[in-house]
Each structure stands twice: as C-alpha cells, then as structure tokens.
Subunit: 551 residues, 2 copies
C-alpha cells in the first residue's frame, strides 16, 4: 500500500489547516518526507487568541504558540521552514520555488503532493490616508505586537474599529478592556452580519451599555493625520471620529496569488476551488482553510468561511485524501460564536436573511426568552433564542442566540440536530441535562421545539411585530397593568390573561386581533382560550421582549 | 370535535407531571372542568431545588413555589385542592373519594378522565432505630423545613447521608455548604449508580477533596440514639458513625397504593403500567411521573426513572392523549446531570455496566480528557469524557462526563446525537461553537468522534487498563522522563515519543506492547509510528490520566 502513497509532501502555510494536515499526514504515513513552509516567524499559533492577547486577557505571548518547529521536528519528524516564502509552483515538474526571507536565498523543492494553506489577508481598502501610521490590521502575532507597542507608545485612549463583524467586536471588547474608548464604524446597518438584524440589535444594545459607540450604516471615507499618534476617521455621511488608533476589521480576502499564478481553478467567490476531498483542479495539489471555497451545507452554494474549526477538519481530510482515504468535507453549516463583553452570541444553520435571499418561503420563525437554568436557582439569566424551521415538515433550518450563559450549549445542541436533519419535534422531546443549576425540567431546547410544534399543529397561529398593521388590527396586551404601564404597543388593549375569560365582551368583533405578553407564554394561553371560544387571534412570537429590537 | 372530549378531568398530584398536564389540558380544552388534588400544602413546587434550599443557596422558600392555587385558578381556571387526600377510585362509576385533610370531610368527585401523578416516596427501610428522631427523608417543602429546623435547634455539625446517588450527593454538598461534616454511607462500591465505576471514582476523589467521608460498599445496619439530637449509625461492616442528623437518600418507591387498590395494572418494576400515551390499563385513567414505569429508550425494557424532565414531557403527552391527540412518549434515554461541589457530572444513553448487564458485546469505549475551551485562553479546565459506541457501525450508545465546566454542553450534544441515531463519524464532523473562550477549533465532541473513528478504522488498536496482563505484556510509556518520574505503570519502559524513531531497537521483540501517554494523544502517534514500522502495539485509551480511577 505504502508504495503508492506520495513520498514527498510539502505544505504551504503552517497555521490551523496546514498544521492539522501535517500532523495527520505523519500519523497516516510514517515514512513520508513532510515539510511546512511559512512566511511568518511562527507556525501553528492561535490566531483566534490575538484579540485577547491585545486586550491583555492572554498575558503571555508564548501561550499563543500551540506548537513550534522543534516540536514538529522532534515529535512528528516534520521540517518547518518559517520566514520562508513560496514564490511559485511549477505544476509540470512538481516543484515549488522557495525563498528564505532572512537570507534572500532561493531554491527549488520537489513534491509528490502539495498542500496550500495560505490563509486570508485582512482587507485594506484603497481609501485616502489608508497608509497613515496608526491604522492596523490583525492577522498574526507580529501584528498584535505592533498594535500593543503603538498603544503603549502613544498612550491610546480612543480607538476606532472599522467593521462590526466577529473580529471587530472582539477587538472592541479587548480595547475597552484596556480602558480605551471605542467606536465601531460599520457600513451595514447592523453588527455581526451572519445574524438577523433584530438579534444583532440585542448585541448593539449591549455594546452601547458597555460604552462602545456604534456608527452603523456608515462607511469610512478616509483618514487624516493629526499630531503624532492621532488620526481623524472621516465617514461617508460626513462625520469625523478622532482616534489614537484604528483597527481595520472589515473582512479578509483569500490568499490566492500562488494558486492563481500556477493556474489552479479559482471559484466564483474568489477562493481556491476544491472538491469534497479538498483537492484543487490539479490532482497533486490540495488546499485547505481560509483560502478555499467551501460548500454551504445549508444551501449548497459555494462560499468563503474563514473559521478555524472548518480549517482544522479540512486539514485532516486533505491528509486522508493524500493517503488514499475516502473522507469528505461535508461543507460548512454556519456555526459560530462570539463573546461580546459578558454576552454569548451564537448561531448555526440558516439565518432568516439568508433564507429570504435564497427566495425560500417555506419557513417560519419563533422567538423565546428562557433562562439558562431553573428560574428559582440563583443566577438565572434570560437568553434570547430565534429558531427557524420548515413550515412543511418541521425540519430545523437555523438558530441564533444571545445571552450571558448557556447560549453556546443550546446552539450546539441545535447544530447537532440540524446536522442530523432533525425536526422541531425532536427538540420538543429531547432529553437533556437537568438539575436546577444546569437547566430546566423543560430545557430551552424543549420549549423551542414545543412552541414550534404548537405553531405547526395550528394550535397557535402566529404573527410577528414586522407584519404591517391594517385598519382592522387590534393589539391585545395580556400582561398585568403594571407591566403594561412600562411600555406597550401603540393603542393596545390591556386585559390580563387571568381576567380574559370574564372580559371577552370587551374585545372588538371581527378584528385582526394580535395578542402578546412579555415573552409569548401568556399570549399562547390567551390565544388558545380565545380560539376555542370562537374568536380568531394570533400570538406575537417573542412578545414584548423582542419588540424593542425589531426594525 | 369538542363534544367527544372528556369534560370533567381530575388530576391526583399537582407537582411536575401533574401540573404540566393540567396547564396543557387547559390550553387544549378551554371548557373542561379541571381539578387538581394534592395531599401536601403546595402544588407545582420545585422539588429539585429542595437540597439547595436546605443548603441555603436558595434562600427564600417562596422561590420554590413555581405556581400556586391562585395562579391556577385565575390564569388557568383550574381548581386546586391542597391538603386533600384521594382515598379511592371507583372505576365502574368513574368517581374518586377525596378527604379534606384539614376538616376530615370526605366526598365523591366524578371524572370523565383521571390523571394519576402521585410521585414516589423516599425509601425508609425497616432497620433498627429507623424511627429515632433526627433521621429524615426529603420529598417536599415541609420535609426541608423540618430538616432546617432540626439543624438549627441542635446546631448540627456532623451528618450522615445514607445513599450516594444524585440526591445523596446534592444533600452532602449542601450540608457541607452549611459547614457540616458529612459522611456518605453507600451500599454499592461506588457513588452515582448510573455511572460506570471509573467515572464515579473521579467524583469520589472530588468529594474526599472537599472533606466528605465516603463509606462505600457498606450498608446501614441500624441506628442508636445518643443524647438529644445525636445518633450513632451502625453499618453492616461493624463500623459506627456519629451524626447529629441522618438523611436517608437511598432511593424512592413509586406511589402505587391508589392504582393497586383500584386494580390498575402494575409493571414488573413496581410502577404503574402505562402505554406510549401514558394511559393505564383503564382507558379513562392516565398516569405520569415518578409513579409510572417507562420504556428505557436504549434497551427497550421497562424501568423506573424518577426525574422531573421526563415527568414534564409525560404530563404534556397525557394531556394530548386525553384530548384525542396522537403524541407518544419515546421513553427515557437516561440523560442526567448532578452538581457535586464545583463539578459537573453528567451522562446520557447506556453505561458500560448496563451494556454488560444486557449481554451486549458489540461495543467499544474510549476515554478523553479535553479542556472545555482553548487551552491558551485563561481558565481552561480539563474534563473527563467516556464515549460508548457500536463496534459494528459506529453508532453512539452513551457518554459520561465529569469536569468543572462545559460537561453539560457536551453531554447534551451527544444526547441529541444519540436521539437522532448518530454515529461517531457525526461527532467527528460536528460543527460546533468555537471561539477561544467557548471551545476549540476541534471541540471535545470532535475529538471524541475522531478517536473513535481511528479505532474503528483499525488505525489505532486500543487496549484498556482493565485488560489483564500476560507474561508477554510490556507497557511503553511515551511521556517525558519528568512525567514518568511522577508515576507510571509497573515495569513500564519509558521512551518519549520524540525519541521513539531513534530508539526502536530498545523495544522488546514479539511482545504484547501497550503504549500510553498522559491522555492518549502521544500514545496514538506512537502507535501509528510503530505499527507502520511493523511493530504491533495497542494504545491505552485515556492514558495515565484515567489509570488512577480504574479498579
């Protein structure tokens, strides 16, 4: 068997996917010659930790080095060449030309199999002043050292983060953690693009509560220098933001120069095209990580997903493929999480936005606001969950969650349910960990499944705050008067659920009646009560708790 | 439709299953007359919170009252009769006789549908001295008040908890939390019977570290009184334990008196027999909760599972069934969690014990010890996971976990994977929440799946510490000498994995070679290295980290 395996395997890029691939290759193929080439000074470093290193939460740079050249050599018999650029690939002769960046010396290396794991480059748009000192991107440990040094030298007190995605928010939190006043400028009208806007709005409120300024729906027009170490960020709307430092976190572009120059196929989204085994258009070349296009598991189209989890699995699959094994990459399901101060923000599967974009109309959504564990146990904290599912068969399409605790767990359970093509009925009858400090006799997952089941069975007709009102619309608020007094839908009628049975005569006839309570539970009871008494009504999913975030 | 529905529905027992059933009934059947009868002073109280109320973690008794008679009446139009005993059922005439315990008055109530949710009674074995003052069981709020009052009156400093199951451990923790010195006496040779002994051993170590004395494999023989408020607990092995208080937590017995007296079928395990719709042998009587026998979802046999989660789902299903809907209870999968001081101890699906008991031989197990999030992010804590799966097809059978953080989440994900008949390959390619503070680029779930896959593919032959050695067995310890020096298998050969390639000649030929490292990862690399060089070897799953707990 081993005779047919490639003997000389070269890997370009030694972080995440490349490192995972190298280690797996060695375990499958003890006698191969394996070498890693990386342009930077490190391989296998924890790039997801960089914002926290800048924030001082991770104190020691050494902690970021998951493995070094010595470990690769001694433990895995793998040669690591850092500060080494791969200049070109000669696919005909199966060689690459490399350049030692310390000495400038170039030489040729032959391969039987080649793995490209070059990653992605932070975007740096050609705006006026983009090259002024104090404007940084963050990709590697040297970048983070440069940023830290700048902040110390100029005693940074004000920062602008351009981009409100995951990295932008992590940077904002970490700069705030250093006592810096942070503004985020984001071209979209929401932070965290993978989330639906009403869920993002919860995060935005939390950011503002923590003193972060948000300039949404506004793009950066350019930068101007003030005195040393100070900048003005000009936006397209004409505003100016002063900053001692600017972090660009507006996304990344797959590094495809090497692939393009050697004629490998590039996909429609600009990443290296690979098959399910992570093989490029050249059967001797594989590619993994942020540089490649992957299949969106939910929709089937090609996409770019620069995340460490998929990269690690891709590295493993490329190694399998090189060693003649049949593993395949199933695509990316879209599971992600971000810490935003003390908030967990997570998602899996499809967003409503993405479903609409795809023209899908066979879906429904519900909102719920359960606590992460029994309400009677100290420390119960409310989370917000949104569940998307098929109207036709109840299969789960996606979920988003925001809360201080336990969101990671519920999104993970739903991620597994989606992976296994589960339905809302599966969630309703899931049997999950329960003790007072760890969950509920009905877990948030059970509630989500039950609410969705009630909708699908026709027991609970649903309506959303976003549905336009008509002249015949009446909002019925079934909360207590004290709750009603603190805010309610305009013109709403207030009849507490406990009094509803005796006050049916107060309900206007032949109206588009929309009932709500605080979170949806009393509204559900009221809906059932009224429907069974012949009064058509719909319950507003998520109740008043979600109303402030709808736009 | 509504004409055919039962009009008068009586529910015996208003906690957990009974309360859930009542609320669901009202939502499905607005015009029914629904009444709940409960012997105690409360309905719908949080019985899972009682140990924490005793420990003072839940301070206010009112927090334990999830819903009261007023709420049931006003919101649900349900009549609640507390302190009311149901004396008998006349199935012929469809009536029950009830007794108001405050007045002693009896009367007859007619039903169209009857739901039994009487719960279970803590066992109180007929041992010498069992009725001495100071020996308590814990079932309801009055019990916990009595216990608290006793502890205050006698300034309790020493407690004996009889029984090392979930409730026993929760009681031990809560008594310790009050500064009381606690001993647990358990007849089995392990705590937490649903766990396999080596996982329970991790919990036992933790209990001892927190000052709890464990007397395992020893039963209570009887009790003797000392001066007021003090007792001696005598064990079968002849030992004596002094105590100011004794808590009996040796299990519960389903309350079936009413069911038995009215001739309802009782199952082989002593619980009320019900079908998938929670219907008893009488088509007008349903039963739910701790009093009924349920199907073990893993094995198919009947069992007793006194847990709140299943009870709540059963209540819902009984209500559906009464209202002519086709929901069914899928059985109990065996998901459970317990907090033991700052440790999370959780399980789902089959244990190895249960598989062996069932004579199943088509399974394998692995151990792993991952951290709950990226090791480089502060606060990473190691957990211990055990995964059981089919050798023939990789389907997941069960899992157990112990650790300070993130165990609930991983067991929940596996619980969902088991529910959906997932395999270890599904775990390997699961896409879960990852950011440094929330997981790993490879989550513990991915690792578990990958390790199991490596075993099933034949890449990593496995052996366990429990496999008897033979004269030809050689243990090969591939850790560093500094680790080896701190403890190792008797007679083990120490060659660090990084030196193994150059020291192959030191390996004895034709031996039963068993390799291990700290957790299994270096052992896996060594295994691959040696096998590919023609040296047969097996890796010891879980490495040295699990060795101290094996017995």
């Amino acid at each position: 068997m081993k005779k047919s395996l490639p003997q000389r395997i070269l890997i370009v890029g030694g972080v995440a996917g490349g490192a995972a691939c190298a280690a797996r290759l060695r375990r499958l193929h003890e006698t191969a010659e394996i070498s890693i080439f990386d342009r930077g000074p490190h391989v296998s470093f924890a790039n997801c930790g960089l914002p926290y290193f800048i924030g001082g939460i991770i104190e020691d740079e050494a902690d970021l080095l998951v493995a070094d050249a010595k470990l690769f050599r001694e433990r895995f018999n793998i040669q690591v060449h850092t500060r080494t650029d791969v200049l070109s690939i000669d696919r005909e002769s199966r060689t690459i030309e490399v350049c030692d960046l310390s000495t400038g010396e170039k030489h040729i290396e032959a391969y039987d199999a080649l793995v490209l794991s070059p990653g992605a480059t932070p975007l740096r748009p050609p705006l006026p002043g983009i090259d002024l000192p104090g404007i940084f991107t963050l990709r590697n440990i040297p970048d983070s050292e440069t940023i830290k040094k700048w902040m110390e030298e100029y005693h940074t007190t004000k920062a602008v983060v351009v981009g409100g995605g995951f990295i932008g928010l992590e940077m904002a939190e970490n700069l705030a953690h250093r006592g810096i006043e942070v503004s985020i400028i984001e071209m979209l009208d929401q932070v965290m693009p993978p989330l639906d806007p009403e869920i993002a709005a919860i995060v935005e409120e939390h950011l503002r509560d923590h003193g972060v300024h948000l300039a949404l729906g506004d793009g950066v027009a350019g930068f101007e220098a003030l005195e040393a170490g100070r900048l003005i960020v000009k936006t397209q709307s004409g505003k100016s933001h002063e900053a001692d430092i600017v972090i660009l976190a507006i996304g990344v572009r797959p590094e495809t120069t090497l692939a393009k120059n050697s004629g490998l196929e590039i996909g429609s989204r600009g990443g290296v095209r690979v098959d399910e085994q992570m093989r490029t258009s050249d059967p001797k070349i594989w590619a993994v990580g942020d540089a490649v296009e992957v299949r969106d598991w939910n929709f089937g189209f090609d996409t770019l997903v620069p995340l460490a989890g998929p990269a690690a699995r891709q590295g493993r699959i490329a190694a399998d493929s090189i060693c003649g094994r049949a593993s395949t990459f199933r695509g990316v399901q879209g599971t992600a999480i971000c810490g935003v101060f003390d908030l967990q923000v997570a998602a899996t599967g499809c967003s409503e936005k993405a479903l609409r974009r795809a023209g899908d109309q066979d879906f429904e959504k519900i909102y719920l606001h359960p606590t992460q564990h029994a309400g009677y146990y100290p420390g119960a904290k409310r989370m917000h969950l949104k569940l998307l599912f098929r109207k036709s068969d109840g299969s789960i399409l996606g979920a988003q969650g925001v809360g201080k605790d336990g969101v990671d767990r519920r999104i993970d359970v739903i991620a597994m349910a989606i992976q296994k093509r589960g339905t809302v009925y599966d969630l309703a009858e899931a049997e999950l960990c329960y003790a007072p400090q760890f969950g509920g006799a009905k877990d948030p997952i059970n509630f989500a499944g039950m609410i969705a089941s009630n909708l699908l069975s026709g027991d609970m007709p649903l309506v959303h705050w976003t549905e336009p009102t008509t002249p015949s619309t009446t909002f019925l608020d079934v909360r207590e008067p004290s709750e009603f007094a603190q805010g309610h839908a305009e013109g709403a009628l207030n009849i507490p659920v406990g009094e509803l049975r005796h006050r049916l005569s107060e309900l206007p006839a032949d109206r588009d009646l929309r009932v709500y309570c605080a979170v949806g539970q009393r509204g559900y009871l009221a809906t059932r009560l009224l429907i069974q008494r012949g009064i058509p009504v719909r319950n507003i999913s998520g109740g008043w708790a979600i109303a402030p975030y709808i736009r």
